[in-house]
């Protein structure tokens, strides 16, 4: 593999920012490093780039331990969260900036700059100063600047988070194309699960300074290893779990304790995707697998409705539906296919779907 992060732990003073973070990025692969703000993504990236010295742990690049190397000896390209174009240099000079230390012959530099400006479709802006560029153009120049010295690995630290949605989507496409064309090994850091799923060959999900799950996006989405991954990759809503023997709701008893199912105890967390839950017409309410609650609020999102139910069994349940749900204050019944339930035993992680 190209990049290997092994047991990375970092403390800022007393605060533990990273705890035993390990993952790998293979050659040519684009890996999404995904997690909420403050989960340690940026610290991880800074450690890989050499701008943070990890408390313990190792970073290997092409099989070589680079943990103690200064940033300039690492062959790691970085695109930071905020624009970092050199304001006193033109676009072309910015892109050429890393070529001299990379040992590129002066005669060849102009051609390389041309090539990378073309790659990001900014040949016209060669002589422009960074201040004259739009937000999206700046990002593209930075991408070209980071790629020009042909780094072993490219780190993209939330490069799109400061842009508006339309631009973000277009640039995401462009980054995917550029990554395909250059084949550069890439670590893409983001808190946006949609971007991460769309771009990545594999995902590393982080939570609270630790790796919460590693895998292909679809695989992580469909069978999340932890409740955190389930709620962060796509939304999920928690279903109340009744201990066995308790006169609880039909759904819990049947789904969890039913034939061949996992024995239920109170330490089990049961999650479901809002889209997997079906609202029933009042006529079907007698059906076996049902949850009953009062509609608390309804949000019309245009393409769908979102209803929050206060369950009789306690807790809130979010339901997505195409047709208009009952008005707030009315009673609603819903059901979920038991194969769609995501079950987790709190101590040992995933229990698995009950089917």
């Amino acid at each position: 593999m190209t990049l290997e992060v092994a047991d990375l732990t970092h403390r800022y003073g007393d605060e533990l920012a990273l705890e035993d973070v390990s993952f790998e990025v293979d050659a040519g692969e684009i890996v999404g490093l995904l997690g909420p703000s403050g989960c340690g993504k940026t610290t991880t990236v800074q450690a890989i780039a050499g701008h943070v010295n990890p408390t313990t742990g190792e970073i290997h690049l092409r099989g070589e331990d680079i943990t103690a190397d200064p940033p300039e000896r690492r062959d790691v390209g970085v695109v930071f969260q905020e624009p970092t174009l050199f304001p006193h240099l033109t676009v072309a000079e910015n892109v050429a900036y890393g070529l001299r230390p990379a040992g590129v012959d002066p005669d060849e530099r102009a051609a390389i700059v041309d090539h990378y400006l073309e790659l990001v479709s900014l040949s016209e802006q060669r002589e422009a100063m960074p201040a004259a560029l739009s937000g999206g153009q700046k990002r593209r120049v930075e991408l070209a600047r980071a790629l020009a010295p042909q780094p072993d690995v490219l780190l993209l630290d939330e490069p799109l988070s400061a842009l508006d949605r339309g631009l973000r989507d277009r640039l995401r496409e462009e980054i995917a194309r550029i990554q395909r064309e250059t084949g550069v090994t890439t670590l893409y850091v983001t808190h946006d699960q949609e971007t991460a799923m769309a771009l990545s060959d594999r995902l590393v999900v982080m939570s609270d300074g630790q790796v919460a799950g590693v895998g292909e996006p679809r695989e992580l989405y469909e069978s999340p290893p932890t409740p955190f991954v389930a709620s962060f990759l796509g939304r999920s809503t928690r279903l109340p779990v009744t201990p066995p023997g308790d006169p609880g709701l039909t759904l819990e008893r049947r789904a969890l304790a039913g034939d061949g199912g996992t024995p239920v105890d109170a330490n089990v967390t049961c999650l479901a995707r809002p889209g997997d839950i079906t609202l029933l017409d009042s006529g079907q309410a007698e059906n076996a697998h049902t949850l009953i609650g009062v509609v608390d609020r309804v949000t019309d999102l245009g393409t769908r409705y979102e209803a929050v139910l206060t369950l009789d069994a306690g807790g809130d349940l979010t339901v997505e539906t195409q047709s208009a749900p009952p008005e707030p204050g009315e009673l609603a019944c819903c059901t979920i296919d038991r194969t769609d339930l995501l079950l987790f035993e709190e101590s040992s992680g995933r229990v698995g779907p009950v089917c």
Binding site: A49, H51, P70, P71, G77, F80, T84, P87, P101
Partner: protein, 280 residues
């Protein structure tokens, strides 16, 4: 006045109203400030009124004035160079690192700005005077630290160096550290990054600091007079002329110094970005 224009446009009337409100609110501070401005302007006018052009030029061409001007230009250039070469790196460290005792160091470096120059001169004499260990050692190898060209440079550097340190520090502080990280990740060492990113980006501010230092060194009198009243610089020349010939004798060299000051001001305004004296 806007109010006379016969338009009932809402915008216009709002504009007029706010303008009037703004005017009446600023009336008192404007009057007080105006008084200060007049007070500052009067001496300039009075001083310039003393000049008879021919006499000034003739006096400036005289040997004494020429020596003073040459000495001042030489010493001020030297002390500004010393202050810049040593002060800009110090400013960079102060802008980029925090370490125990940093506040103390920062206090120390701005101390000469507020210290009365004559006290600074006395302190310099206690440290480098002819009969102190350092002064005596230097004298033994033939270097006079007081009453000499070097003495003038010592006094000027002590008093004027804080300007370039404080200004350059603010200039470096204003540069986003991420630019330097980007430069490091693009293969440049810490020194290469300083040279290619920090220095060019802080250039305007550093230049302003250098210019201010030069102006302060040119005008330095108190400490210089204590440490090295000879050879004469322009300020010490002015003092001697004043003692011997009264106020009119001072006008020619005084005008020359004023001209230097105006030139410095023009440069500083041109390169812009003069931060407040103490910028944390």
């Amino acid at each position: 006045m806007r109010s006379h224009i016969s338009r009932t446009d809402d915008d216009v009337s709002t504009y007029t109203r706010t303008t009037w409100t703004a005017r009446s609110t600023l009336l008192v501070p404007a009057l007080l400030g105006g008084l200060l401005l007049v007070y500052v302007a009067v001496p300039f006018v009075a001083f310039l009124a003393r000049t008879g052009t021919a006499d000034v030029l003739a006096r400036l061409a005289g040997p004494q004035a020429q020596v003073a001007i040459r000495n001042s230009l030489l010493t001020a250039t030297t002390s500004t160079t010393v202050a810049t070469v040593l002060g800009v790196p110090l400013a960079y460290v102060l802008a980029r690192r925090s370490f125990p005792g940093k506040r103390l160091l920062e206090g120390l470096i701005i101390l000469p700005l507020v210290l009365p120059p004559v006290v600074a001169g006395a302190m310099l004499l206690t440290a480098f005077g002819r009969f102190t260990p350092i002064g005596a050692t230097a004298y033994a190898v033939g270097i006079e630290l007081t009453g000499s060209f070097i003495g003038i440079v010592l006094a000027q550097t002590f008093v004027a160096a804080p300007f370039v340190v404080v200004t350059a520090r603010a200039g470096f502080g204003a540069i986003d550290e991420r630019l330097e990280r980007a430069s490091r990740s693009l293969g440049y060492t810490a020194f290469g990054t300083f040279r290619h990113v920090a220095l060019p980006l802080a250039r305007g501010t550093i230049l302003a600091g250098v210019t201010l230092t030069f102006a302060r060194a040119m005008g330095e009198f108190g400490a210089t007079y204590m440490v090295a009243s000879n050879p004469r610089t322009m300020p010490t020349r002015i003092w001697v002329d004043f003692i011997n010939g009264g106020i009119d004798a001072v006008v020619p060299v005084g005008l020359a110094l004023l001209a230097v000051t105006l030139a410095v001001l023009a440069v500083v305004q041109r390169v812009g970005r003069v931060p407040t004296v103490i910028d944390r």
